[in-house]
């Protein structure tokens, strides 16, 4: 294309423009849409030579697109200047001052949390609560119909009586850590944190450590491997203690539930323990 300026050679003033407008109106329509598309794209990357020439030819004749091109040409500078606007001298001081109440509140909350935690750990019932929640988790783990461990208890208990470490190994192989995590989180949510804290501590501190060891792939056999021996040596007392507490607490929970049931529904209790009704 040799001449893209489209000068009205040999035509009366304005006639060439009229002719072009008439032809475009009856054929492709206004080229301004395409011109604006190129004007927008030109801000991101240089146009191809031909596109650039066609655009120049169009803007030479179209006042609206020429104005738009002029604005687009100077617009980037003031836009960049708008990236930072000084909020005034007082802003920094006001911002830092407004941060103080929040920071004080946060520090106070942290202190309260520490005091509450220390108090929680000093309470004589903490061990009982830990065992209680642990027992509840274990109970739910084996009693729930949807539990993947539902079919395990018989075998697990049998092995547990013979060798507690072996029992943990067998259970862990059936994805105990994941299940425990689920139940631990559920206990956390359901108890509003306090009982859940105990459960989580118990779980994190004992079960997870054991589970990680087992999942590392060290095979444990009946007579226990090195890891089993090490685990048993370091955790044996705690495992025995935990199992003992679980056993005791199962008994306590059962008694408590039975007596609570009896208090709540003495007639039913009487019925179930008394005569049988006909019909």
């Amino acid at each position: 294309m040799n001449d893209t300026t489209g000068k009205d050679r040999g035509m009366p003033d304005g006639m060439g423009e009229k002719l072009v407008s008439g032809v475009l109106a009856r054929t492709s329509g206004s080229p301004c849409g395409r011109a604006r598309e190129l004007l927008g794209a030109r801000a991101d990357a240089p146009l191809e030579a031909l596109d650039s020439a066609l655009l120049s030819a169009h803007t030479a004749h179209c006042a609206a697109c020429r104005s738009l091109a002029a604005v687009l040409a100077w617009m980037p500078q003031p836009l960049v200047e708008l990236a930072e606007i000084d909020p005034g001298e007082a802003f920094t001081a006001a911002t830092l001052r407004n941060m103080l109440p929040w920071r004080r509140r946060a520090a106070r909350r942290l202190r309260h949390l520490g005091v509450e935690w220390a108090g929680l750990m000093r309470r004589p019932r903490i061990a009982w609560e830990t065992a209680y929640v642990g027992a509840a988790i274990i109970g739910l783990l084996f009693a729930s119909p949807s539990s993947p461990l539902r079919n395990v208890p018989g075998e697990a208990l049998r092995v547990a009586q013979a060798n507690p470490v072996q029992a943990f190994v067998e259970i862990s192989r059936r994805q105990l850590p994941e299940t425990l995590t689920t139940w631990g989180d559920a206990a956390w949510a359901a108890s509003g944190g306090r009982a859940g804290t105990a459960a989580r501590l118990w779980r994190d501190d004992l079960w997870d450590r054991l589970a990680r060891g087992w999942q590392a792939g060290t095979p444990l056999t009946g007579d226990t491997g090195d890891l089993g021996a090490a685990l048993w040596a370091s955790e044996g007392d705690r495992i025995r203690d935990a199992i003992g507490r679980i056993k005791n607490d199962f008994g306590a929970i059962k008694t408590e539930l039975t007596s609570a049931g009896a208090r709540k529904n003495p007639h039913k209790q009487q019925d179930s323990s008394g005569e049988r009704h006909d019909g």
Binding site: M75, I85, P87, T95, M99
Partner: protein, 190 residues
């Protein structure tokens, strides 16, 4: 001034001086962003402070491999959106007229040669008030704050191609808004 990573580390350790330095370094930018969202200088000051409180609370979540500015702008955008939602639920006592944008504060005296530049800045600021919020946000992130297409796509959660086309459209809409406010703005200057 030390490098930003060191300042951020110190802020995370609770160094108040580092935090003050960070606020000073970014306050103009955060205020500019807040102003584009709320279009009211007093409200923008409040929002900018809220943004800094949010930054302070969430500094721990800033990952070292990220670039700070896009992270800051993402946080600012979220804070602005929350602020606008709250404003919609509980409108302020006085009406905020989007049509009557406040003049941009100039804290430094300008030489005469800068009058034209100041006039254009004010004109662009006013024209931004005429845009749809989507187009204004696109101009803010791309043209004003200078983020690249990928960073904008991540902040807005849209594909890069969409960002590109929206950015073009927004730029044209802004130019047309400028011309509608001041037709003489389209006269080419030598």
């Amino acid at each position: 001034m030390s490098d930003l990573a060191s300042i951020l580390d110190r802020c995370r350790q609770g160094d108040e001086l580092a935090w003050e330095a960070l606020v000073r370094q970014y306050q103009s930018r955060v205020y500019a962003v807040a102003l584009q969202y709320v279009r009211d200088s007093d409200e923008a000051l409040d929002l900018a402070q809220d943004i800094f409180v949010r930054v302070y609370k969430r500094l721990e979540t800033f990952q070292g491999h990220e670039t700070f500015l896009p992270w800051l702008l993402r946080l600012s955008r979220n804070a602005a959106i929350d602020h606008l939602r709250r404003r919609k639920a509980r409108p302020p006592r006085r009406d905020i007229q989007v049509e009557d944008d406040p003049p941009l504060a100039d804290t430094k005296p300008l030489p005469d040669a800068d009058w034209e530049s100041r006039g254009r800045r004010q004109l662009v600021h006013d024209a931004l008030g005429k845009l749809t919020s989507t187009n204004r946000e696109m101009i803010l992130l791309k043209e004003i704050q200078g983020l690249n297409l990928k960073e904008i796509a991540e902040i807005l959660g849209i594909p890069v191609g969409t960002v590109k086309s929206r950015a073009n459209r927004a730029r044209l809409e802004l130019a047309q808004a400028i011309l509608s406010l001041d037709p003489s703005a389209g006269v080419s200057t030598p």
